[in-house]
């Protein structure tokens, strides 16, 4: 356990990291249309300042010894009752630090890019407002020092994601996609809520320090429960099986959103959650195994979907799922894998953001068409986009010396350290990555032009290409930089732990096998999609292709298992409420109404019959009196 230091120096600005974009969001969302002109620059500015503060914090943190890099800032008591107390308190350590850097720097680049991408949108101030809201929530998620505050950020990013996916609300599909993302994420939130409750019931606290400090005293069953619940939460946020169905639809949002939220940062929050809670998963080995299984399944699902989609963004989304699958499975490996999960998360954040922004740049030049079958031969028309996209492609495929190679190779290595089967599976998935990324690049930039009639591809403006270039540089050097210069392993070790084990195969041989398989996959993709003619209408394809085009029937399964039954229940209860419960109420009213209808028949209006009943009554009374007297 590291020592927790009170904030000093630049770290006392911890709250400002969150407050700045939050204020930016508030101004942009409340300011109205007049902010369209200069408000967007405010949105960029807040995130840029955040990035500067983050870098300053990094420098300050590097100045401290490895054990003194955790800083905590307590603002005030948030919720309290009985023996329950949660503070509004922030904390930064090495793990949070790298996330803050990723979020602010990649976030800033995407903000800049959006200046160009959204320049014609009449609601662009709102767009930047939502983006700022997202950055604030994401930073809150990362900087919280307890699970409940993390939950606020967790839902905050979900909200921002919802708002941004359905940014073009006028399209029913966009509105539906946003709703779907929110509701599926809510299922994950149930997991997080329950995990927090179990923690409180077990440890009497929901703070990171307290929970991890006494994790060893809890029973393994309890920790397994917490671990599985956290896994459920991570599945929701990180689009892991079985809660993966929302991510592909989320591509309805503007492309910068897909890059920032649905590739680089938010969807990796699940990995952060698992890595952060490593103290629990280290003991709860069953839960950790479940994490690995979920990661492996999603890794393949994503890869298969990515290979079949013709929509460039959805194909990339499939690839995101698959890559996050890598991270999750690495995180499930325990101390062998945490560091590399985070490592891959960082490099992926950079190269996938670059790829998405590249895709956005292509769409920008192709009248927002996303169908790769109508692309082709774009490498001359938009050279910068092409070059940066190819760098990103090489990086994600894991070709040395690009960033992705180092991080992915580390994960494959870690997988072999733990379990040979998992290791083999990661290599196969890497080969599929080679195939689908080559396919994507080939369909977009090579082959013959299959453009629609009125399309005139052109390179995007500088404000969009410069972020692309910066991200491409990152995709090239970040891996080497983090591994050799930044010492990511020793940097993260104090937080998440690190363990190395020998493996049976020599390391060089493993690398070579991986590379050969990746290149084989790439070659197959090249032959299929660059050498041969790509039909403008998709051929029928095998059953797997057809299933993958339907997102492997994820929606259908959800529909049959959850959505339809929920609506049946709903319809049944509406009927039940109207005919039975309210029927009973109105029925009793009708009963008394009917009874009085019968009884009033005795009011005949004949005076003499009234007189007779009076006499009868009097006689009865007299009789009663006499009887009482006699007895």
């Amino acid at each position: 356990m590291q020592e927790v230091m009170p904030v000093t120096g630049v770290f006392s600005l911890l709250w400002l990291l969150i407050a700045l974009p939050l204020v930016g969001a508030a101004i942009l969302l409340l300011g109205g249309r007049k902010l369209n002109k200069w408000g967007v620059y405010l949105g960029v500015f807040t995130v840029l300042v955040d990035a500067v503060i983050a870098v300053a914090m990094l420098i300050a943190m590097m100045g401290n010894s490895a054990q003194e890099r955790t800083f905590s800032q307590n603002q005030f008591s948030w919720m309290f009752a009985g023996n329950f107390k949660v503070d509004m308190a922030f904390q930064i350590d090495q793990l949070s630090m790298v996330f803050v850097l990723l979020i602010t720097i990649v976030g800033a680049l995407i903000h800049v890019y959006s200046l160009g991408y959204m320049s014609h949108d009449p609601d662009k101030r709102k767009f930047f407002g939502y983006l700022n809201l997202f950055v604030a929530a994401m930073l809150l998620l990362i900087l919280a020092n307890n699970y409940l505050l993390l939950y606020v950020g967790w839902e905050g990013v979900g909200l921002a994601s919802y708002l941004l996916i359905s940014f073009w609300q006028i399209k029913p599909s966009a509105a539906a996609a946003g709703k779907k993302a929110f509701i599926i994420n809510r299922v994950g939130d149930v997991g997080l809520s329950l995990a927090i409750m179990v923690m409180f019931v077990t440890f009497g606290s929901v703070g990171f320090q307290e929970v991890f400090g006494s994790a060893g005293q809890a029973s393994e069953g309890t920790l397994t429960a917490i671990g599985l619940l956290l896994l459920l939460a991570a599945c929701g946020k990180s689009a892991q099986f079985p809660l993966q169905a929302w991510l592909l639809d989320a591509m309805e949002g503007p492309t910068p959103v897909s890059a920032l939220i649905h590739a680089a940062t938010m969807v990796t929050a699940g990995v952060y959650l698992i890595a952060r809670s490593h103290a629990i998963f280290d003991i709860a080995t069953t839960a950790a195994t479940a994490v690995v299984i979920v990661g492996v399944v999603t890794m393949f699902m994503g890869a298969v979907i990515g290979s079949a989609k013709d929509d460039i963004k959805k194909s990339l989304a499939g690839s995101t799922m698959s890559q996050i699958g890598y991270m999750v499975l690495a995180a499930g490996l325990g101390p062998i894998g945490y560091v590399f999960a985070i490592f891959h998360l960082l490099t992926h954040g950079v190269f996938k953001a670059g790829l998405f922004l590249g895709a956005g740049s292509v769409m920008h030049g192709m009248n927002d068409n996303v169908n790769m079958r109508r692309y082709g031969a774009l490498r001359t028309a938009m050279f910068v986009t092409y070059a940066t996209f190819i760098i990103g492609t090489l990086s994600i495929m894991g070709i040395p010396p690009f960033s992705g190679f180092w991080s992915k190779d580390s994960i494959i290595h870690a997988a072999f350290e733990s379990n040979t089967l998992v290791g083999v599976l990661t290599i196969i998935a890497a080969a599929i990555t080679g195939f689908y990324m080559t396919r994507m690049a080939a369909m977009t930039f090579y082959g013959k032009a299959r453009w629609e009639d009125d399309v005139h591809p052109h390179e995007s403006p500088k404000v969009m290409t410069i972020p692309l270039i910066i991200l491409a540089v990152g995709s090239t050097f970040l891996g080497m930089g983090l591994l050799f210069w930044g010492n990511i392993e020793t940097w993260l070790e104090p937080v998440v732990g690190l363990k190395k084990e020998e493996i049976a195969i020599p390391e060089a041989l493993l690398m070579a096998i991986t590379l050969v398989l990746v290149l084989a996959g790439a070659a197959y993709g090249w032959i299929q999609y660059a050498r041969r003619e790509v039909p403008a209408i998709a051929p029928r394809g095998s059953w797997l292709t057809r299933a993958a085009r339907q997102d492997l029937h994820g929606d259908d399964i959800n529909d049959i298992l959850v959505v339809q039954p929920a609506f049946w229940v709903s319809r049944f209860l509406v009927w039940f409420d109207g005919s039975w419960i309210d029927g009973l109420v109105n029925g009793s009213a009708a009963f008394f109404g009917g009874l009085s209808g019968r009884l009033r028949r005795y009011q005949t209006g004949f005076i003499r019959s009234y007189a007779l009943s009076m006499v009868g009554g009097a006689v009865l009374v007299v009789l009663a009196l006499v009887l009482v007297r006699l007895s």
């Binding site: 969302l29 005030f76 008591s77 948030w78 919720m79 309290f80 009752a81 009985g82 023996n83 329950f84 509004m88 409940l148 939950y151 606020v152 839902e155 905050g156 909200l159 919802y162 609300q169 006028i170 029913p172 509105a175 539906a176 946003g178 709703k179 929110f182 509701i183 809510r186 299922v187 939130d189 149930v190 809520s193 329950l194 927090i196 409750m197 179990v198 409180f200 019931v201 077990t202 440890f203 009497g204 606290s205 307290e210 400090g213 006494s214 005293q217 809890a218 309890t222 929920a566 609506f567 229940v569 709903s570 319809r571 209860l573 509406v574 409420d577 419960i581 309210d582 109420v585 009213a589």
Partner: protein, 521 residues
């Protein structure tokens, strides 16, 4: 504590105001509105003054206590006093009344074929209702409470029956009969309580302080508890005593619905907390499993029915029923977290309901009062501000973290989980359905292509924005910093916990860890 009768004066201000407004000439409706609004603001200011004087740290839970004999022969006293729970609910009423008045500024226009009442009458009724709401939350005598409790029906009956929509007389009658039936049971139980107290103390009393901790025989408690609980369960409303609510909410003006659901229904949950638990502790314990089951059924039932509703007002009514399930659940798990959470949830629900009904009301006004969800689509395009507030209200209703409803909901769930793990776990699933029906409403009404006849919908005007902004600010502020509420509520909750003799479950390993840490230091 000074001896100024703060609460009596507080209650008299709106009553006098109501009479003055009612006596104004019919020809000056504008004056009536302005006067009513000014009076409600004065009451709010008064409540703020009281709240600032309230001392959350003392051991005496009840403050501003007043005590006078009323009917000495029956032990009836005129006694007032507020603890933290009563105070925050009075504050909630005082906040919502001016908002309702301002929101309903043009809801009642004189030559209205739909309603039969006059303009000034509507506002006079609101003010009269405010007096009764203050009285209900401040009474510390069961008889006095009952008087206020039943008297509240009168203004509400007229607000629905005279100023409501097409189904108004049916709804008003249903509301009245439901409430009267409940009230009758309570009356019977109250008399029984008087007799029971006479048997124990020698002289019967209705005074709350004397009745708490009376140790009534458990069998008697079970019967008396049911009488009180039945009245509160109808008011709250707990499943299956809820069917008056959708009708009443559907037939009333948005402002009436806000006061009805936002404040009046809280009297039910408040009553459970103030009367059922402390006076009948062993009966509460006995019935808790059944009530918890009904509350959980209510959570899901309300949510599922809301999912299938096409009528906006009825939908919100069912969603409120679901939320009330949470509140009742929190009360009857007997943990500090649960009860505090329920109280926060009452505040949160008052605010979120107000936001929902008012935003929806503004929307419906723009389409001739149609309440059907299917009549709306794509409103976000012509009226983005309206859509924004609507979304905020929706998010507040689904308890988005960072808003006050989350504080309440999470504490209720945590408190439940602490006591009954499975119940807490099941109830937590409710948040998914809540999200589903809330977002369904937003998606259907606000997004997509602009619906027929909605192209020219005007966005919110200044008055309407002024109405909604305070709610939004309070929701966010209390969500991030609920301490002002928790500080005054927690001592009151501790008192309740002591009276019913419940203790909070201890963490399973937390205890040992703190001791070991202490040893290390």
């Amino acid at each position: 504590m000074n001896s100024f009768p703060w609460l009596t004066v507080l209650g008299l201000v709106p009553l006098v105001g109501s009479i003055v407004v009612a006596l104004l000439p019919k020809s000056k409706p504008a004056l009536a509105k302005q006067l009513a609004f000014a009076i409600s603001l004065a009451v709010l200011a008064f409540v703020v003054v009281i709240a600032l004087q309230f001392d959350g740290s003392t051991s005496a839970p009840f403050q501003f206590v007043e005590f006078h004999d009323w009917i000495p022969a029956f032990g009836v006293t005129y006694s007032l006093g507020v603890d933290g729970i009563g105070l925050v609910l009075i504050a909630l009423s005082a906040v919502l009344v001016p908002i309702t008045i301002l929101a309903g500024w043009n809801d009642v226009e004189e030559p209205n074929p739909e309603s039969v009442g006059s303009v000034k009458g509507y506002f006079a009724l609101i003010l009269a209702l405010e007096t009764l709401m203050i009285g209900v939350f401040a009474a510390t005598d069961v008889f006095l409470f009952y008087v206020f409790f039943e008297a509240m029906l009168i203004p509400v009956y007229f607000m629905i029956g005279r100023y409501g929509g097409a189904q108004r007389s049916y709804a008003a009658m249903k509301f009245l009969i439901y409430s009267l039936v409940g009230g009758l049971f309570m009356l019977a139980a109250m008399i029984g309580l008087f007799v029971a107290s006479a048997q124990i103390l020698g002289k019967g009393t209705f005074n709350w302080f004397a009745l708490v901790g009376l140790n009534i025989d458990p069998t008697t408690q079970k019967f008396l508890f049911l009488g009180f609980f039945f009245a509160f369960a109808i008011k709250a409303p707990l499943w299956p005593f809820h069917t008056w609510l959708p009708d009443a909410a559907g037939a009333s003006k948005p402002g009436t619905a806000v006061l009805l659901i936002g404040v009046l229904d809280k009297v039910g949950t408040f009553g459970m907390l103030r009367y059922c638990l402390p006076i009948f502790p062993s009966a509460s314990d006995f019935y808790a499993p059944i009530i918890i089951a009904l509350a959980v059924i209510g959570i899901f039932y309300g949510a599922f029915v809301a999912l299938g509703q096409n009528d906006l007002k009825r939908l919100f009514a069912y969603s409120s029923m679901s939320h009330f399930g949470f509140i009742i659940l929190g009360i009857f798990v007997f943990t500090s977290i649960g009860i505090s959470g329920s109280t926060v949830y009452m505040i949160a629900h008052g605010l979120s309901t107000a936001a929902l009904f008012l935003a929806a009301g503004f929307l419906m006004q723009r389409r001739n009062g149609s309440t059907l969800l299917s009549d709306y689509s794509g409103v976000n395009k012509p009226a983005p501000v309206l859509a924004g507030f609507f979304l905020f209200a929706a998010l507040s209703s689904l308890a988005l973290p960072g808003l006050v409803s989350f504080v309440g909901e999470f504490m209720v769930l945590l408190g439940t989980f602490q006591r009954y793990m499975w119940v807490g776990g099941i109830a937590t699933l409710g948040i998914v359905i809540t999200a589903a029906y809330v977002l369904r409403v937003y998606q259907k009404s606000m997004t997509g292509p602009v619906g027929n006849g909605l192209e020219g919908v005007k966005d919110l005007n200044g008055r309407e924005i002024t109405v909604l902004v305070p709610i939004v600010l309070l929701t966010i502020f209390l969500g991030l910093y609920p301490a002002p509420v928790l500080n005054v509520v927690n001592p009151a909750v501790d008192t309740v916990m002591t009276v019913i003799g419940a203790t909070n479950p201890e963490p399973t390993v937390g205890l040992s860890s703190t001791t070991s840490e202490g040893a290390q230091q």
